[in-house]
């Protein structure tokens, strides 16, 4: 079962006006204030922007001087000290990057990613690969919070209303994208060195693995953009539902594809339904576990009603460790838990508010780490193929959505913009690529490298596209409460 590394998260809707604030512990991450520049709902004037840029430049120079003075080279200090430094640096740099991105109309997420890329091994090398890896503990928490919130945002009435749309869109994604991407992969295979010497059945099988990964999305990106934009409407609902549904669909598709590819690439291997059955059992167990944990969370909120934030953090780490030990789908468990709290209890609003109060800080680190993890060197080496595959995926995603909306007879705005929230890819896909590398040998390693390159493109383009989509659909600013940033 895939253990998803955190996709890219970000969402945070610090509701400083919420009366429930008194029941939550600010802990080490109190709610951001609505008056601070990063959270002001009023658009900054040109003069205030210029002043902020000047102050930002001076403070960055001061910080740079401090770092150069106290940290003469990247290997100074022990691993723990470097990890702490990396964490603090990413929080700061991401925060500044988000503000800069916001100033030029881009999603904050893009700023966080850009700062991570700049600071990471592919950029200025301020942070090494080891240091980026050491932040996985924070990323694990980020995944938990994102998935909890995603689940809590889904309501039964919402799902009932969009069930037909989600069904047909899922059918489209599960058929059009795999078929199209397999064909595209086959067409481009002569330019892929890792497919040399493979017969056409094997190339098709490997293409199937690629196409299964192409179906995966980035729930965190979607939530992040929707949170920042305070969006509400058909596009937001559709995107949220689809990223959750596709998380399950892609697991099944990928399991089938890996099995077929293993048979095609490994002499003597044979097709077996055992792994599929095992996968379905794990999915069922994940749903059951998520339901149980959701009830536990709701019980705490109802019976104790205090230290909700700390409790959610404890639960986040605890359930993550539980899922890793039993090989459950971490993302699915948390989504189900959030869904249960929202739909089977009365604590849904509390949960959403509690998660949002800490999400902004954690997500800055998460997105910045994701940026630092992007391997732009791989992109530089394989950019023509990566661009073709990314572009093909985008077109096929559009086509799959159009198919689904046509069958469901949806409104025009969805037909035009619904693909925009489904372009980003990150942690989920990386997790799948890692499994492919493990199971398919050198071919898998080749796919993994190419996936990283394609993710780089999708991750940089996707958030911008989704923000455009939300603007086009007129859904920005329609949600209740103050802005996320």
């Amino acid at each position: 079962m895939t253990d998803h590394t955190p996709p890219t998260p970000e969402s945070a809707n610090p509701d400083t006006a919420n009366p429930d604030t008194a029941g939550t512990t600010p802990s080490a991450v109190p709610e951001a204030d609505a008056h601070s520049p990063a959270h002001n709902t009023q658009k900054p004037t040109g003069a205030s922007r210029a002043m902020w840029l000047v102050r930002g430049a001076v403070s960055s120079a001061l910080l740079a001087g401090l770092i150069l003075l106290l940290r003469p080279d990247a290997t100074a200090g022990d691993a723990g000290s470097r990890a702490v430094f990396s964490l603090g640096f990413l929080v700061l740099a991401g925060s500044i990057g988000g503000q800069l991105a916001s100033m030029v109309g881009l999603p904050r997420l893009t700023g966080y990613l850009a700062m991570g890329v700049l600071a990471g091994p592919s950029g200025l090398g301020l942070l090494g690969t080891g240091e980026v890896q050491s932040l996985q503990l924070v990323n694990g928490l980020a995944l938990a919070l994102i998935a909890l919130q995603a689940g809590a945002e889904l309501t039964v009435p919402m799902l009932k209303k969009s069930a037909r749309t989600l069904w047909w869109a899922s059918v489209g994604h599960a058929t059009i994208i795999p078929l199209g991407m397999t064909a595209l992969f086959f067409a481009l295979s002569p330019w892929m060195s890792f497919t040399e010497g493979l017969g056409w059945p094997a190339i098709l099988a490997v293409g199937g693995v690629w196409s299964a990964m192409a179906v995966s999305r980035a729930p965190a990106d979607a939530l992040a953009i929707m949170g920042e934009a305070r969006s509400k409407g058909p596009l937001s609902t559709y995107t949220l539902g689809m990223v959750v549904v596709l998380d399950v669909v892609v697991l099944i598709l990928f399991a089938f594809a890996i099995m077929l590819a293993s048979v095609a690439l490994t002499p003597g291997a044979h097709f077996s339904m055992h792994e599929i059955v095992h996968l379905m059992q794990e999915i069922g167990a994940s749903v059951a576990a998520g339901t149980t944990f959701g009830l536990i969370i709701a019980f705490w909120f109802w019976a104790v009603g205090r230290e909700k934030l700390l409790f959610v953090i404890v639960v986040g780490y605890g359930i993550t460790a539980f899922c890793r030990y039993f090989h459950y789908d971490t993302l699915l468990v948390f989504v189900v838990a959030g869904f249960v709290v929202q739909n089977l209890t009365k604590e849904g609003h509390d949960l959403v508010h509690t998660v949002e109060s800490v999400a902004s800080g954690v997500m800055v680190v998460f997105f910045a780490t994701a940026g630092a993890s992007l391997d732009l060197n791989a992109l530089a080496q394989t950019w023509p193929i990566a661009l073709a595959l990314a572009g093909g995926r985008g077109v096929l995603t559009y086509a799959a959505n159009r198919f689904g909306h046509r069958m469901a007879d949806d409104e025009a705005v969805l037909k035009k913009t619904s693909f925009s929230g489904l372009i980003s890819q990150a942690g989920v896909t990386i997790g799948l690529a890692t499994i492919a590398a493990e199971k398919l040998g050198p071919v898998g390693a080749g796919i993994s490298s190419l996936v990283i390159a394609v993710i780089g493109i999708n991750e940089l383009v996707g958030p911008v596209l989704f923000k455009w989509g939300l603007n086009s659909a007129g859904e920005v600013g329609k949600a209740d409460g103050p802005p996320a940033h």
Partner: protein, 413 residues
């Protein structure tokens, strides 16, 4: 796996007791010795549930926690004013602290010589080198620092508001500021473990780094009018960065964090930084820090004896000062509140030891300070019993709100 389980346990502990101060009080257990004892019992030298590799894994987190606590303590420092009330209060605070430190430092020095003559010298402290003077300063300075939390508690039962204000001013600044200056002075006598770096740089660097971080924060967050809030993400990022940089550069991170907080307090108009619930994060963070420190504590007879002696001298010093230097406070503020231990004393010692590249479990200084602080808190607990006939202590949010009101009154023209 052990590290994850320990992390979960620490977070669970913090969750359960974050606001359970009254429960702890009702159980007649002082927090610091209880949590230190629990950490020691669970640690490698106790039951072994927390292994040595786990404590090593959490060392970076310990540094961040220490820096954050020091930052919060530094935020309480009043913005300097050159008027008579401020100068009078500050002079009284410095005088109070200096006398108490001299008494404790002299006691520590004398005790170390006596113990050495008895053949049970303090490990790591040589009488023939400067280390003994450094140890006296490093022990005498922080141990006498006042407890700010206890001062807040006294507010509820003090009928004399003037005495309360003076006492609160002392607690705000004595809980760290004076101790840090003394520790830096002690650093000048300690052997330099950072080879090739001038001692003057080692002594000044923490202050300069802290001030630089404060300047960065003010620049990024902008100058706010009263009532505005902090950019918390920036604060957390800067504090974490301070912990990382300080650790890499072998600086005592508590000093960096404290100066950072004091700098923010001094450079910002209005008390808004503290007014957004940051103070309430101190308790869970402190609990986690104390547990980790407890797990790493070593045990040596001379260190324990010295710690107990310092606790007794501390009580004597503060009692005498309260009685003879501030007789007005005698009736107004209970002795137990005056004896409340500082939140910075033990973190300061731990931070200093870590900056020297030493292990906590072999450090006599940390063991001595832990025993001294624990004994002080127990004595204060005994002398200020919670029970029938004693007014109910304020809740933490109410105490913090009252302090924020105090800050706003201080900032108003």
């Amino acid at each position: 796996m052990n590290a994850i389980l320990v992390l979960l346990a620490l977070l669970s502990l913090a969750t359960l007791v974050a606001r359970q101060r009254t429960a702890v009080v009702a159980a007649h257990i002082a927090t610091t010795p209880a949590v230190l004892g629990m950490g020691f019992a669970l640690g490698p030298r106790g039951l072994g549930f927390i292994t040595s590799s786990t404590t090593d894994a959490f060392s970076p987190a310990l540094g961040v926690g220490l820096t954050w606590l020091a930052f919060l303590a530094g935020l309480r420092v009043a913005r300097p004013k050159f008027n008579k009330p401020y100068l009078t209060d500050m002079a009284a605070t410095i005088g109070h602290s200096a006398i108490a430190m001299l008494m404790c430092g002299a006691a520590a020095l004398g005790a170390m010589y006596v113990l050495a003559d008895a053949g049970i010298a303090l490990p790591g402290v040589s009488l023939t080198e400067h280390t003994v003077y450094a140890a006296a300063l490093l022990l005498g300075g922080p141990v006498v620092a006042s407890g700010f939390v206890a001062a807040l508690e006294a507010m509820a039962i003090s009928p004399d508001q003037k005495a309360y204000h003076r006492f609160l001013f002392l607690a705000r600044h004595d809980d760290g500021l004076i101790a840090i200056v003394v520790v830096i002075a002690g650093l000048l006598w300690a052997p330099a473990s950072w080879e090739g770096t001038p001692l003057a740089f080692q002594a000044s660097a923490p202050f300069l780094v802290g001030l630089a971080l404060a300047a960065v924060f003010i620049l990024l967050a902008g100058s706010k009018t009263e009532g505005s809030g902090p950019d918390t993400i920036t604060l957390i990022g800067l504090t974490t960065l301070a912990a990382g940089l300080g650790s890499i550069a072998h600086l005592p991170v508590v000093v960096v964090g404290y100066v950072f907080g004091a700098g923010v307090s001094a450079l910002r108009r209005g008390p808004a930084v503290l007014g957004h619930g940051l103070s309430s994060s101190a308790r869970p963070v402190n609990l986690v820090v104390l547990t980790l420190v407890g797990a790493e504590l070593g045990f040596s007879v001379p260190a324990v004896l010295l710690g107990l002696l310092l606790a007794v001298v501390r009580v004597l010093a503060k009692s005498l000062l309260r009685r003879y230097l501030e007789p007005a406070n005698c009736a107004a503020i209970p002795l137990g509140a005056v004896l409340g231990p500082s939140s910075v004393a033990l973190p300061l010692t731990v931070s200093f030891v870590l900056s020297r590249g030493l292990d906590l479990h072999t450090s006599s200084l940390v063991t001595t300070m832990a025993v001294a602080i624990s004994a002080s808190e127990l004595i204060a607990f005994v002398l200020w019993p919670r029970g029938e006939g004693v007014p109910t202590l304020p809740s933490e949010p109410a105490a913090e709100a009252a302090f924020e009101t105090e800050l706003r009154a201080e900032e108003s023209p």
